[in-house]
């Protein structure tokens, strides 16, 4: 890891965190190396505040920490910024809403354990912004985690009358396979007609999602004498 000015690290972190950051957050960035002193961080933040004083954005301290925000007097221009007409969505968004639909009421931790990967606050916030999920209650365990469920708006968006219109999970796969075949026929122009006897020697490839994981976690075992 090369030497980097603390101020630059703090600056880049503030711009990419998507939430206000506290001094503790900055210290947490230094996992592999000796963290800086809190005093040094405060000095860097102050320097940044001064450097941005005359710019289009400013570094402010709000209740939950430090954050950059645009100067209020630029609003007249910025309001003309066109939001993207069709914003991009990630697979994480799709998977998260699908899990909530099937497993509600569910906590974020539980979603993460099904996905096998962290679910960012941003995704939960976006789904709430779309009004597709809401907090139903809080679980009576330490931390009182929120329990999420889908909304009427979610059902409406996908033209569902109620949740039981969602295909049962067990059928989902078979259906998809059937639909795929149908789809194959639909896009037939791109496809060659394959004589049936050739199909026999060309068994379709099976999906082997487990394989990679197997290789990673369970590499070749060499038997020791």
């Amino acid at each position: 890891m090369t030497e980097q000015p603390l101020k630059n690290i703090i600056e880049a972190a503030l711009f990419t965190a998507g939430k206000p950051l506290t001094i503790d957050h900055f210290i947490d960035l230094f996992v592999e190396v000796e963290p800086p002193e809190r005093r040094e961080i405060r000095t860097a933040l102050q320097a940044l505040q001064e450097e941005y004083a005359e710019r289009g954005i400013e570094l402010l301290q709000v209740a939950s920490g430090y954050r950059f925000q645009t100067k209020a007097d630029l609003t007249p221009w910025l309001k003309h910024l066109q939001p993207e007409r069709s914003p991009r969505y990630s697979r994480a968004v799709l998977e998260t809403i699908a899990i909530i639909a099937y497993r509600q009421p569910i906590t974020r931790r539980e979603i993460e354990s099904i996905r096998g990967i962290a679910v960012s606050s941003d995704i939960m916030k976006r789904l709430q912004d779309y009004n597709w999920i809401r907090i139903l209650a809080r679980r009576d365990t330490p931390g009182h985690p929120a329990l999420y469920g889908t909304t009427r708006a979610f059902l409406d968006y996908f033209n569902l009358k109620n949740l039981s219109d969602l295909p049962p999970l067990t059928e989902l796969r078979e259906n998809l396979e059937k639909q795929s075949e149908l789809f194959e026929e639909l896009i037939a122009p791109e496809k060659e007609i394959v004589p049936t006897n050739l199909e026999e020697i060309a068994p379709e490839k099976k999906i082997v999602p487990k394989k990679e994981i197997l290789l990673k976690t369970n590499p070749f075992v060499i038997t020791q004498p």
Binding site: R173, L215, V221
Partner: protein
């Protein structure tokens, strides 16, 4: 062929033995059949396998000892068949072509029976081209990219309410995502997604919502007679499931008093 998972091991490493990456399988290594399957499936097709055989021996693509490479290639293909691997037909075609090239080389070359496209030259051209793009793919993977090496700098605009635009997500895309989740979830055996009637989970959400606004509710109020027997069962199951997960409490303060449900 690992087309169905985003996460995979480094493409160069064929195996990891006691923490060390092996790029080349040791000769005379006893390989358990499962591992062999993984090894063979790490190839992106017959060209990739051929390249591996050639590069393993530091051979020049332009000057391959066809007889030797064919022998090794056929060995692998036989192995795949032996283990009943789903062998893509391309592997067999390549085997056929290698044998064709080999036999052609045994024949005395005469101008008349020289085909317009020499399969040997054709193969070398193919291999070179594929090798190029294989390398290009590796180069691409090392380019700095969003989410991994660089992050976009954004700033809040607190004074302007953010307009929410819902992305255009099609139903089929959502189902596809769910299918992938199921596949992945099956790897986490402790978190099997169970088969459970969705109507119960939906009712669980509805009950929690009702309790959110009322705090405490008469047990019987949760049932709607017009839903019939099935509706009653669904509601009952939902209440029991919520109670089991300690999300609600079922209270009866005095015997014969009405049963209450609260958060």
């Amino acid at each position: 062929m690992s087309e169905h998972s985003e996460v995979e091991v480094s493409s160069e490493a064929k195996a990891i033995v006691q923490g060390t990456q092996l790029d080349i399988l040791p000769i005379d290594l006893y390989v358990p059949p499962d591992a062999l399957e993984v090894f063979l499936e790490s190839f992106e097709g017959p060209l990739d396998l051929l390249l591996y055989l050639i590069q393993r021996q530091n051979l020049d693509i332009l000057n391959i000892p066809i007889a030797e490479v064919t022998r090794q290639y056929l060995q692998y293909v036989e192995l795949m068949q032996e283990f009943n691997l789903d062998l893509a037909a391309e592997y067999l075609l390549m085997a056929a072509m290698l044998m064709e090239i080999k036999s052609r080389m045994l024949l005395p070359s005469t101008k008349e029976n020289e085909p317009e496209t020499d399969p040997h030259e054709q193969l070398i051209k193919q291999l070179r081209e594929y090798a190029q793009y294989k390398e290009a793919a590796q180069d691409l993977d090392t380019l700095p990219r969003i989410e991994r090496d660089i992050f976009l700098a954004t700033v809040e605009r607190p004074d302007i309410p953010k307009e929410v635009i819902i992305p255009d997500i099609s139903w089929s895309v959502l189902l596809e995502a769910m299918r992938e989740v199921i596949e992945r979830a099956e790897l986490f055996t402790s978190h099997q997604i169970m088969q459970e009637p969705l109507s119960v989970r939906e009712r669980m959400s509805l009950i929690l919502e009702q309790l959110n606004s009322l705090q405490r509710i008469d047990f019987l109020m949760l049932f709607k007679l017009e839903e019939g027997r099935a509706g009653v069962v669904v509601t009952l199951l939902a209440i029991l499931e919520l109670a089991k997960e300690s999300l609600i409490q079922i209270i009866q303060e005095q015997p014969f008093e009405t049963i209450q449900v609260e958060l």
